[in-house]
Amino acid sequence: MLSILLIACGNDVTPNADATSDATSGASTGPTGDPDAGMTGMTGMTGTMSLPCDETAFTNRIDAAACPEIQGRDAPVVLAGKIELCRRLHIDLLGFSPSAIEFEENCKWKAPEDLIDEFMMRPEYVRVNQREWADVFRMTSALTFYPYIADLDALVGQLYTGDMTIDEFAGLAATHPGFTGRFDGVDLVGYAFQAFLGRDAIPSERLALEPLWHLWERRAATDPFAAATFQVVINTLRCHGVDEIDCHSDFWGDESVVIPAPVPDNLDPNGPNVLQLEQLADVDWLKLRKPGLLIAEQAAFHESYVDRRLRRYLGYDAGAALPTVRQALVDLMEETHGDPLSLDREIVTSVLYRMSNLHDEPGDVAEEDWDPPYWHGPVKQMDGEDWLASAARLTGVDIGRCDHRYPVVQSGASGFHPNDYPKKGDNSPNYGFRDKSQLLGGCPDHVNTFRELRTGLIAALTQSTITDDLCAAADAGAPIFPAGLVVDPNDKSVETLGRVARFIYSAALVGEIPRGADSALADAVDLCRDDVTCLPAVFSAETCRAVLKSADFLFY
């Protein structure tokens, strides 16, 4: 059953009466027995509007800001069905695609707002965001002392449990040892800009602002769990005496970050004027955190975070495409002093996010004349990790996960430092998931490789390999268990093969095989029946692979 809502420009909110599969569009449909699979009650509009895009009629500020570019241009707004939205929310907020059972349990009977609130309370939501910041900060214990990383990652966690604002976070993170232990010199300025201002610093900015980080120094160290590592210290001698000028910047006002040398006459580079972090007093930290506090005051700070979140959830540069939406969200950030949860909720409850991504557009249109991306719902490619985790969950194969903090776990005399990888018999990390995911652009090492979405020949080969393994190893209790679908090993009837294919598709994508692919299914069944090597077990396993590799599954 499918219910599509049309929000006409002005005042109409019209549920689509068609509650079945759309034969022409191939739209996926609601679950069996669902009397109303559409997203009624989530139009973002209240009451009756007398004017198009009257701001008072919207409960969501994105909807109000985007209206002139959507409804105001007579673009119909078609909201996603429950299945489409359920899948989108699962992948975006939790990092995996739901099974049919999870759809029934989580999405079928809940209002989307409730579902969103529930998902944003889950640890998976925190984890997917920690993963994103691990990429931003290029976390790796190969270069940074692992406890620093763990602490910075925990701070990120507080952002997404509602215990910290992005303003507070910037004040801490820009001089957190997990950051100053990863980068050095003018790179500290460059990567702080990239993390919080949305761009690299130009050379003059790098030079002008480096003094604010000038006290920080990395020192080679050893640890029972990291034989070769670097710890950071505050070397007060770097700003001592005539060198004090090296710690002064007039770029963002006259600012100095200087901690006086405790023993002024001692110039020993390893002496008492080199302070361990444990030696720092609160007043010292207050000085040291100046760069992050200044960054958070910059006009681009909230704008940059808003743009990043819009890109994350919508898959395109909505901040640039719809500047009024960006500004509306910057206003929200100002009002909430940078509450990331309010921002996320505003985005994922907006019409921009909740529209269906089905879109009818002629195929022979020149690129410059393509419809803008905000005239339909987002189409995104699953991250390599999310795809792999989803395929593994659906086939019931436990292949672990990677630890976004530590692409390569270090070790010392006492063994490996703490980590979240599954363990081998000797307690060493099992990198099976990491290694597979890296082939698809996930689990980056943050030194030579960085997260990316891969398609193309090699990605196709990789997915072919992985699905071959997963579908063959599927567990009997899994949503997709190809071997379990074969009752009579010689039954190649049209009905049986069709049933097997429909079951697998539905288990992976919740809905039925789109009608637009019916003929392909019929062809596949015929080809299998004509092929003596295609036994039902083979058909079942290969259908499992085909579905998990399909664009339907990978794009959402």
């Binding site: 739209a27 050095d184 010199g185 003018v186 790179d187 460059g190 130009i202 050379p203 790098r206 030079l207 480096e210 991504n357 879109h359 557009e361 249109v365 690129e367 419809d371 991306p373 005239w375 189409v379 490619q381 890296q438 082939l439 490789t449 960085f450 891969r454 398609t455 193309g456 020949l457 090699i458 990605a459 196709a460 080969l461 990789t462 072919s464 390999t465 071959d468 393994d469 095989i513 789109p514 637009g516 392909a520 299914l521 062809d523 596949a524 015929d526 080809l527 299998c528 092929d531 058909f539 290969e542 259908t543 085909a546 579905v547 590799k549 399909s550 664009a551 339907d552 990978l554 794009f555």
Partner: protein, 456 residues
């Protein structure tokens, strides 16, 4: 000059490989025709049998201390040294002759250096922004566009003319951000094959190289086709990249099943006269070398062009150690590559050397330097000033005219790094046009400037 010694890991000596390379060079007979563009008077030896191997130094390489080393210490704090006899360009002292591996110092006379490569000739300033510069090197235009490899894939005759056994597409080898700009598909330009690295390529075994029964392919293609059909034009374009990848798996499956692509895992596998073990002996054991070996194998299967991306060049701080390592990795690879290109022979008995141009490209050089040669962080930046603007690109291979080898074109002032009076400045866009022309693709519809012909 030192003698190149053999290593203990492989059975083939470097000396014998050196001889092999020399004989191949002597035997090779190239017969390109002159390509005359509609605009200008460039003379490009054009042939669809030619190949281009580009090393993209991702991040902005400090090319001056490597290939234009005869400048002041602010621009090259490492100094210069003599190269092999016949070398007229100033070889950077950063290159080390380690007596074990082939060294650039033995083959610098084969390299022609273009010392004033510039994205914006005639403009008051150069480009210091990564994204804009990468757009320039990848597509020729500041706002971006179809990547060079995509243009080649879309317009090279080997790919546009019907064939029972289509040659392997152009390949983008590398996962660096900047490298990807060479593979942007647009309009009639088709995405190349993208391979993050040899190690990742080797790690995915492709269980039967993506083999799939016909019925499963029919079902999957039908699902994908339906997904595309009900999406916007913008999204169709993106999803089609997935479909193209799957189609390529089927088309080139036999190639992927060939053990010769396991350049590190199948040492005995041989193609065009060299085994993988021999290639490894020449090129060395690191990732850049494996990527290079894989690139050569793809050229053997018909790839018209391969871009090998090499990261680690964006050295804003702590430059000295990183730069020396990167430069020597590149130099050693070039030296091994020179040997390999001469030893590898196509079925028509011409050598790879005869048919290949090797070229380095980076988005910009480095500047913002103090008299010490570094910035305050011990690194270097990229502001678009003369130091980062005028890059030195190294070119070699049999397609470079013998009289041009060992020379520098485009000398710079040792103090200002500006081009010396009367010296040419080479538009990087004209270099991309040159690559198209060399592959017998008319660059005129794609680039407004005539292709560079100074190498020929």
């Amino acid at each position: 000059m030192s003698i190149i010694h053999k290593t203990s890991r492989h059975t083939t000596s470097r000396r014998s490989l050196l001889k092999l390379g020399g004989m191949a060079l002597a035997a090779g007979i190239a017969a390109p025709h002159l390509w005359i563009p509609r605009v200008g008077h460039a003379k490009i030896p054009a042939s669809k049998k030619h190949h281009v191997l580009i090393y993209f130094l991702d991040g902005g390489a400090r090319s001056v201390p490597m290939f234009n080393a005869g400048v002041g210490s602010q621009w090259n704090p490492l100094g210069a040294q003599a190269g092999s006899p016949g070398t007229e360009w100033a070889v950077g002292k950063v290159f080390v002759d380690d007596l074990v591996n082939p060294s650039l110092l033995h083959m610098s006379h084969e390299i022609c250096v273009l010392g004033t490569c510039d994205h914006t000739p005639g403009e008051p300033v150069g480009v210091g922004d990564h994204a804009v510069a990468r757009n320039f090197v990848g597509s020729g235009f500041p706002g971006g566009g179809a990547g060079l490899l995509s243009l080649i894939h879309g317009h090279h005759k080997s790919y546009t003319e019907p064939s029972l056994s289509p040659p392997f597409p152009p390949v983008l080898l590398g996962a660096g951000d900047g490298t990807q700009y060479f593979g942007v598909p647009k309009g009639g330009a088709l995405a190349p094959v993208k391979i993050p690295s040899y190690s990742e390529f080797a790690a995915q075994k492709g269980n039967d190289a993506g083999g799939q029964p016909e019925f499963a392919r029919a079902l999957e293609d039908g699902l994908d086709h339906n997904t595309v059909a009900i999406r916007s034009a913008r999204d169709r374009f993106r999803i089609d990249q997935l479909r193209n990848g799957k189609a390529a798996v089927q088309t080139y499956r036999d190639i992927f099943l060939d053990p010769v692509l396991a350049v590190a895992g199948a040492p005995a596998a041989t193609m065009h006269g060299l085994s993988n073990a021999e290639l490894a002996t020449m090129l060395g054991p690191d990732l850049l070398s494996f990527n290079t070996a894989l690139a050569l194998r793809f050229i053997g299967f018909g790839s018209a062009a391969v871009v090998v991306g090499d990261t680690g060049w964006d050295t804003h701080s702590g430059e000295s150690a990183m730069f020396a390592a990167s430069a020597n990795r590149l130099g050693r690879t070039f030296a091994g590559l020179s040997l390999a290109l001469k030893a590898l022979k196509f079925p028509d008995n011409t050598s790879y050397w005869d048919n290949t141009l090797v070229l380095t490209i980076s988005e910009f050089g480095r500047d913002n330097l103090m008299p010490s040669g570094y910035n305050s962080g011990g690194g270097s930046d990229h502001t678009g000033g003369p130091g980062s603007r005028y890059q030195a690109y190294a070119c070699f291979g049999g397609l470079v005219d013998a009289a041009k080898r060992g020379k520098l074109f485009g000398a710079t002032d040792s103090v200002t790094m500006e081009p010396k009076p009367g010296e040419p400045v080479f538009s990087t866009r004209s270099i991309l046009a040159m690559v198209l022309g060399l592959l017998d693709i008319d660059p005129t519809p794609h680039f407004p400037e005539p292709p560079l012909d100074i190498l020929f």
